[in-house]
Symmetry: C2
Subunit: 432 residues, 2 copies
Amino acid sequence: MEANRTGAGLTGLATTAADTRSLTAADVEAARAETPGCATVLHLNNAGAALMPRPVYEAITGHLAREYAIGGYEAKEEAQGRIEGVYGSLARLLGAAPREIAVVENATVAFDLAFHAIPFAPGDVVFTSVAEYASNYLAYLRAREAAGIAIRVVPDDERGQLDVAALERLLAEPGPGGRARLVAVSHVPTQSGLVQPAAAIGAAARRHGALFLLDATQSAGQLPLDVAALGCDLLCSTGRKYLRGPRGVGFLYVREAILDELRPPFIDLHAATWTGPESYELRPDARRFENWEANYAATLGLGAAVDYALDRGLEATWARVRALGARTRAGLAAIPGVTVHDRGATLGGIVGFSVAGWEAEALRGALRARRDRPDGTAGARPINCSVSVASSAILDFAGRGVESWVRASPHYYNSEAEIDEFLGAVAALARR
Amino acid sequence: MEANRTGAGLTGLATTAADTRSLTAADVEAARAETPGCATVLHLNNAGAALMPRPVYEAITGHLAREYAIGGYEAKEEAQGRIEGVYGSLARLLGAAPREIAVVENATVAFDLAFHAIPFAPGDVVFTSVAEYASNYLAYLRAREAAGIAIRVVPDDERGQLDVAALERLLAEPGPGGRARLVAVSHVPTQSGLVQPAAAIGAAARRHGALFLLDATQSAGQLPLDVAALGCDLLCSTGRKYLRGPRGVGFLYVREAILDELRPPFIDLHAATWTGPESYELRPDARRFENWEANYAATLGLGAAVDYALDRGLEATWARVRALGARTRAGLAAIPGVTVHDRGATLGGIVGFSVAGWEAEALRGALRARRDRPDGTAGARPINCSVSVASSAILDFAGRGVESWVRASPHYYNSEAEIDEFLGAVAALARR
């Protein structure tokens, strides 16, 4: 496993033995054994927050124990080398350089810091997707108020993903007085299995001189990411989802070449040096988007999560996530009364579905509250899913005829038996 | 102890038995017994990050254990009532209403969110103090670039605190085309024992129609706070310092009457509801300054820390902090070669000092590295202090003739014997 880490390098996504091989049944068993939560819950809420593996939990609690024993600043000093290592790990995950990484509170904060750092001028056009996440769209609306930008939603193609040809046309003709300034897209939307054609979107943006901000909140840890191949200038993501890290920590990638084009909305004595009553100097790397104080236990947990993901190999885990997603989708579609909502040319681990006669929230509760095993004996583990609501993605929900649906999101450490147990539970509830 | 919590109410700082009595030697011993770090370190870095008491540590690790066992979202659902309780605890601490509280990443983020939410117009004047913290001043410089505000530094009076009479004059005559928009002040600066006359500053701001933003980063948990008595519209603070809470969490108070005057710089689906392609609606309370994702283990730790502080009583612990600060200051001043840098009419727990012949960083390291007890036997606990540098408060350091000094910051759980042991260690180093 160490070989993978060493071989990853800083300039591209590692392609090592760990990345190209498939996960074996023994690999899955080992990952489950390192995940005590697997014994307690049948966890299909990895798109919410995944179950942490032991090394992540121990990185967090180990640091907290030191803060408790010797003080918060003193524990940070002691962990300084490991904290620096987190930047290296994130850089390897993305094919970036450590100086292009900022560790921040979460993906939304990373998105906001990056987006609002762009010096928009009136007439600047921001292009986005139908499947866009509410919080991102709200940032566009906020910038429209503050800076007079225009928002253009690129239509989907017939497969249900962003229509890259339409994006090209819109970028070429942003309208009278308009300038194609930014393409900002959720790589994998919160509410469905869709994986957007991010590399093609990035290439289109680059051709037309627009910046490309990729929201990788649901894709980091789910599929391999390489910022050069994706052509993105800015990328944000979170720890708690497919990376299996802690809550309350995320990260931002800023391509070094555009760093000085951006104006961080907030600056403090970590981001800049106060040099005089009327002057300051920004630090030279992407950490100008951070602020001084952080939850270092969470930072170290994030680093452990990235190392754990790299050790398994993103190609290998992505193949398994896709397979488990497909098994879930096919199994659900075969149950009478079930509708699967996913559309797109490439589908990943997230599955959105409804069951006739069930409100989504009630169905989620019933899956969580079940107490009987498929064989009728008592003591089944709760099934963890979540609910996607229209207000989190109103453009994508429009015309679907539902206001919410249940989201099941397997990860590589879920077993085929768990998927089948989940399908059995849904089938039983659908018959009620 | 429960009586204190119940009697605190929501409209003012509680004045109950726990608040008005003094801490007894037994109270201090009990607090030390609940603070395992006291056995490991002689901790005089409470202005950096205090040692957490057991209930705080257990609130954090208890929640992490549930996230590990059942999933991050599921653990949050389970803790929902206790998370709501944190807002009630913070409201009691400040004499505010729970709907006026936002829990955010840290005090700097709280300050930035509040400050940059003020809809500044060119010519607006922001008044601040000589002792101001770098990160706050950097925010003023950032707003000067973005919105054309002017920054006026109010001089100190002869005692070394902000000159309230001078502030009154400046507020009355903000200059041609100027408008007195905001007074923003660090209640207790990071680098010294000074406690600014915040209530008088607040009254002056109110008289002249300016908003008052109080940075209580170093004062929350050190001394009693009541937002009505202080006359502040906005207050920010952190968990890790005198409140003895976790790192990476802080809070913001927003007076309800000014909520709609402000424009949160960032909005997401927690702060607002996305209602249409061109519209959104902000939530009705101060949580419009939060974002959806948080480190709930830290939030719960913060709540436990506030409850712990309220249970001891802020009047009682403040009396002891002042007394230990004074003992430290007097003891240091009596050592040949030591200079104490604190000035102000009211001094608290923070003590800034230099020792002739010692660089501050080297002195801090020597205090931390010492291995001998005062009686010459081996095995002394490291002494934790920190260093204040000019770049963290350049206006206050100007003319002092030093670029940095050591900061010792006792809290109520430090013993008199610890202060004396620290003084002995400094005296021994000063003789070298």
